[in-house]
Amino acid sequence: MSLITVDSLTVQFDTDEGRITAVEDVSFAVAPGEILGLVGESGSGKSVTAKSLMRLNSDNARYAAQSRVVLHLDDRKVDVLSLRTGREMQIVRGGAISMIFQEPMASFAPAITIGDQMVEQLVLHRRISEKEAARVSIEMLERVGISDAAKRFGQYAFELSGGMRQRAMIAMALSTRPRLLIADEPTTALDVTIQAQVLDLMLELKQKVGAAILLITHDLGVVAEVAERIVVMYAGRKVEEARARDLFANPRHPYTQGLLGAVPKLGSSLEEKGRTRLSEIPGMVPNLKKPIEGCAFASRCPIATDLCRKVAPAVEAKALGHFVACHHAPREAIAA
C-alpha cells in the first residue's frame, strides 16, 4: 500500500498577469521507504507538486476540485488538501512529512540557534521533554556526520559551512521521524565533493530511519544515483514514469529521450574521437499563462503530428511499470 497518493493534482496560481496552470492533472504514489525522483527543468511544476503534499504553496494557489492528496497512516487516511487550520496541518507539516530545501540558510531562522530550533519542533511533534529533545537532537547531528555536535547545537546557522548546514537541516528534518522526506534540490547549491557526501548520507539514513524520500531535482545524474523510480515532468504535466533503470535504459517519451541526450556524460572523451555535438532540444518551454492545447511538448517534439497538437495524450502503461504520455510511444505486450 502506498504511503501517499497524489491523484489528478491540478494547481493554478492567480497572478497579476492572469491565471497560471503550474501543475495539470498529475498523479503518482510514493511507497513506504522508497526513493522517488521527480525530475524536470525550471517551470516544470516539480516543486509546486511537492509543496502541494504539505500545502506549502503560496496563498494564491488554487487546487482544482478533483485534486486529491491522500496520506495513508497506520490508523487513518488524511486528505491533505482538505486540511484547513494550522493545527490540522501539523499532521503533515513536520509530522508525517518533513521537507528540506536547496538553500539551508533559508530554512533556519537566523537569530535562533540550531539547537533551539531542533528542540522546538521535537517538543511539538514528538511530545517529549526539552531535555530529551536536546539529547535526541545532538544524537541526530552526530548521525549526519557533524563533528563536535554538542558545540554545533549551540551555534547559529551562519556559523556553519554550506555542507554542514545541509547536514544540520537533514538532521532536523529526520529527527521528528517523518514517514516521508521531501528533498527539493537538496544538493544543487553544493559542490560535487560535498554533494557526494550528502547523497551518501541520504541513502544511509533512508535505510536506518526507514523514511520514504521524494527527491526533486533537475540533475539527471543525481536522480540516477539515488532514485528507485522516476517521474518526469514537463510544463506542469507528467510525461513519463518508470523504474530508474528502465527510464535511463529505455526512455519512451521524446522529451525524456531529448533530455538524456542533452546531458554530457563523464568519460565521453574516452570513447569518442574528437568533439561531438550534444543533442539539443530545439525551442523552449511553452508559456504556462495560456492553456496548452494538445501535448505540451508538441512544439519541440521531433515526431509530433497533427494529433499531438490537438489532443493531449493520456498517461498510459506502455510496458510493465512504465507509464508514458505520448501518442506515438510504442507499447509493449504487458504480461499479466
Binding site: 555542507g163 559542490d191 560535487v192 530508474a244 535511463f248 572523451s269 574516452l270 568533439r275 539539443e280
Partner: protein
Amino acid sequence: MTNVPAAAPPLLEVKDLKKHFPIRTGFLSGISGYVYAVDGVSFSISRGETLSLVGESGCGKSTVGRTVLRLLEPTAGEVWLDGQRIDNIPLRRLRPLRRRMQVVFQDPFSSLNPRLKVRDILAEPITNFGLASSASELDDRIADLMDKVRLPRDAVKRFPHEFSGGQRQRIGIARALAPGSDLIICDEAVSALDVSVKAQIVNLLSDLQDELGLSLLFISHDLAIVEHITHRVAVMYLGKIVEIADKRTLFAAPKHPYTEALLSAVPVPDPTTRRNRIILKGDVPSPIRPPSGCRFHTRCPHAFDRCKVEEPVLRTVAPGQVAACHLHDPVSQPVARAA
C-alpha cells in the same frame, strides 16, 4: 580545430599570478589578514584552444578570470596577451586590448542592461572601439552578430526581459563577439541554464570557436560539460593549480588525488554504473589560513608526513600532464608506498 599547432606562441600566457584580498576588520582599523584567493597560478592558451579552469566554490577560478581581464588588479605575476604584457600597463593603454578579450558571465539576467534594447547593447562595444564607420556598417555588423548566435535579426528591437534565459545568454555571447575578440572568458556561462538549453549554448560555443578560431577560457564547476567542450583542463584547489592535462589524459588517468576525488564525485546519469566514489572528508579549508605544505593534505586520502610541511610543485607526470603532488615525486615514492 582539434589540431592546435603546438609551435604557435600562446594567445594568453599567465605566469605566477596572485590575487590576495586584504581583510579589514573594522572602520579605520588596518589590514588584519589576506584572502589568498589566487596564489601563484600559471597557464597558457593557444589560438583556437579551449582551456577549462575547474574546481569547487572558493578555489579562485573566477578570480583568475577577472584578474586576467583586469576587472581586478593582480597582486603579483604576469599576464601576456598575444606577446604583450598587460598586467602592469596603464588602463588607458589597456583599453584597446580589451577589444580582444571579452567575458560572458553566469547570470544572463543581471549581466545585460535592462534599459537598453538588444541593438544598443550590441552597438555599444562596436562604436566604443570605433569599429563601424557608418550607420549602415553598424547595422550590418549587428545583423551579422545576431546570425552568428542564431537569433532572428528583428529581435534587436526588443529588450532583454523579453527573452528566455538561453536567448539572453546568446545575446551575452553576441556582445562578447561584437568587438572582434580573440579570447572569450566564459565564467560559468552555462551553469544557470536548464539542461536542454545548456546543450544549445554549449554547441553554439563550439561552433563559434570552429568558425572564428576563438580561444576560450572556460571557467566551470561542471566537469561533464567541461569534458565535452574543452581541449585542456586545469584543476584548481584553494588558489593553486594542482593539475593540468589535455582532456583525455585528465579524464582517463588523473594523477592528483584531488582530481581523482572530484571526478569520482560527479553523479553519472546511468543507474547501472556504480563506481567507487572517493568521498572526501570535511569541507574546503578557508583561503584566509590555507593549510601548510600541500593545501589538500587535510582532506587527502593519501597524505603522508611530507605533505604537511612541504608544498609540492607542478611537475610533469606524463606527456602533456603536470601535477603538484608528492606521490608523483620519485624522491618520495617509497614513503608513499609505505604510507
